[in-house]
Amino acid sequence: MKATYREALNQALREEMRRDDRIFLIGEDVAYYQGAFKVSKGFLEEFGPRRVVDTPITESGFTGLAIGAAMTGLHPVVEVMTFNFAILAMDQIVNNAAKIRYMSGGQISVPLVIRGPGSSAHQLGAQHSQSLEAWFCHVPGLKVVAPATPYDAKGLLKSAIRDENPIIFIEAQLLYPTQGEIGEGDYTIPLGVAEVKRPGTDVTLIAYSKMLLVALEAAEKLAQEGIQAEVVDPRTLRPLDLTTLAASAKKTGKVVIVEEGWPVAGLGAQIAESLYRTVFDYLDGPIIRVTGRDVPMPYARNLENAAIPEVNQVVAAVHQVLYRN
């Protein structure tokens, strides 16, 4: 059946909350307003205010509350209005959520999902357009998931909710209305498993979240000039499915990584390092990264467009890695 990314998340969350009454949703405007992006549409009606909890604008407070609830046996899902606001809860996330299991010698676990949109939408300004996944990926104790399709969003959110560890689940505003096939009813996609979204032989494109769509469009364009690009979506950013990524890189020998985040210490740098370490002998040239520009996101539309990776840049990077310039 067809569904939007938004509906896929709604279904996953709803089905999980029906399955297990330890699960509750907490965040700004999740109940009466049904979520800033309407992911929790109908939830208050079905599950009541005890399990769908509106909060004040206090990210650190409600994230800390959720961590405490998780420690004592509940399974909270925290909605951050966008991941830009998770910066306010960074101390709770990094110092508590990620460390309690370790510091309690495994006695206390934190089954918690923090979800919401990351990356830019249209003209939201420098403070509200950031791709911060690398921040979270840096921290041992966290798992980071960034689905690109409705199918993956549903299956991965269910796996995230059922996991015993804190999960950072990064969506994207511009993905919410995108449509795709999703599975009926209950299915899960394991965390830490990448997927080849388009098979090819000549070059490997690695991209996740919104950038997967850019990579797929670039692959389509490249096919018209006879270049068969293989597009691989890691889906989970930590832990990374290096086996799948390396197999593709080994096959093609040419790799382009597409990410919206900043280039310095970005996730693509980590992926590239992992590949250099494992398939160095099969690479035909340096791995090329297509990233967001190393600037605060400009507000002006033309400048914003210029700061976000787009299809032609990916095509040009592929030409470069194939020595076709």
Binding site: G253, D281, G285
Partner: protein, 384 residues
């Protein structure tokens, strides 16, 4: 310095190779580029060239032996060099060494040398394919040798000697059915020659304007076979374990060649059809078969089979029976041949046909009698 000779990986699908023949013997001097051995891959036999010059010190794998790609199969080195280190972990040579010249040879994972730079992938590929990078000019930045510079060499080495075509579903069915036939069904063959003078005249006549429907050799053969089967119903039968089934209707399967195989549509109840009806229904059926428009029940259940390769200028051939039918009549081409008639040589129009029979159902005499009736009917085509 000693250099390792390894079983190369010459194609993507190559997991192992056979040392077919050593072209150099242990102790023999070799130059880089000399052919050391012939290696059989899954696709072809190829020469294995030496990567280093020196003495072929060790031959570790005897001729005829299969080893995985990457296995150390020999060592090239200085005559007095200590090889213990390099030989550690090598497969122990099987005891049965051939007594003939234990030859030997050597390629090795020679490094690309001190020439300009090459990408890691190129170095790996060169090692696997035994390519000397010194001979290659790089087209990458700063003259770096990149994969595309290697492509001409790889293509040459990888050129498969065969082309593999995936079995279509139809081909799989043909494989299954013909094997199921030829193995368990004891075939025997009887060939006759038929005078086609009258038959050809009939065909010409049928094309003339007043005629409503033209006929072909195939139509005449079908009609004559029907006559023969009516007189010898024992051939319109099938072997079925404890019983032989003799059919009351004559349903003739006609082999129709398609681009990627063949199909055998069945012309039903031919015993009740005259020549014109046979011609008409055969044409319709064959057309639909070529358009792949048949439903399964239209190509199963033949009681007798006809296969015609006449249009390919075939004198005669033997066909494989498609069970459950007990016989298939293979039709060749009508040929102009010298015939002796009334003590004089004349030009005759002759057609050879071979009947393949299931010996469990039919014996030689019955087959011959059927063919006699068939021949008589076909030679008097006007009466069909």
């Amino acid at each position: 310095m000693a250099s390792r000779v390894i079983m190369p990986k010459l194609t993507d699908s190559m997991e192992e190779g056979v040392v077919v023949k050593w072209r150099k013997a242990e102790g023999e001097h070799v130059e880089s580029g000399d052919v050391l051995a012939e290696i059989e891959t899954d696709k072809a036999v190829m020469d294995l060239e030496a990567f280093a010059s020196g003495t072929l010190r060790k031959v570790l794998v005897p001729e005829g032996t299969t080893v995985p790609s990457g296995t150390l199969i020999g060592v090239i080195g200085e005559p007095d060099e200590d090889l213990r280190e390099i030989l550690e972990g090598a497969v122990p040579a099987p005891a049965a060494r051939p007594s003939t010249p234990p030859p030997t040879a050597v390629p090795a994972s020679a490094p690309p040398g001190e020439e300009g730079s090459a990408s890691p992938r190129v170095r790996t590929l060169a090692r696997e394919h035994g390519i000397d990078l010194q001979t290659i000019k790089g087209s990458g930045p700063g003259g770096r040798i990149v994969e595309r510079d290697l492509e001409p060499f790889l293509t040459k080495k990888d050129q498969p000697a065969v082309r593999e075509i995936l079995l279509s579903q139809m081909r799989k069915a043909i494989v299954r059915i013909t094997t199921q036939s030829k193995a368990p069904v004891p075939h025997f063959y009887v060939t006759i020659e038929v005078d086609m003078a009258e038959g050809l005249w009939m065909i010409e006549e049928s094309k003339k304007p007043p005629a409503s429907s033209s006929v072909s050799i195939n139509h005449l053969v079908i009609a004559a076979a029907v006559q023969g089967l009516k007189q010898h119903p024992g051939l319109n039968a099938a072997f079925a374990g404890e019983v032989i089934r003799v059919f009351s209707t004559i349903d003739i399967g006609i082999a129709v060649a398609l681009e990627d195989g063949l199909i055998v549509p069945v012309l039903r109840d031919c015993g009740a059809k005259n020549l014109a009806q046979i011609a008409e229904s055969e044409r319709a059926l064959v057309t639909r078969a070529r358009n792949r428009d048949l439903s399964p029940e239209e190509y199963t259940g033949a009681t007798f089979l006809i296969s015609n390769l006449g249009k390919f200028d075939v004198e005669s051939f033997s066909a494989v029976i498609l069970p459950p039918a007990a016989a298939v009549l293979a039709v060749g081409s009508v040929r102009e041949v010298p015939v002796v008639k009334d003590g004089r040589v004349a030009v005759g129009q002759r057609l050879k046909l071979t009947l393949s029979c299931d010996h469990r159902v039919v014996d030689g005499a019955a087959a011959a009698q059927f063919l006699q009736s068939f021949k008589r009917a076909l030679e008097r085509a006007r009466a069909l």
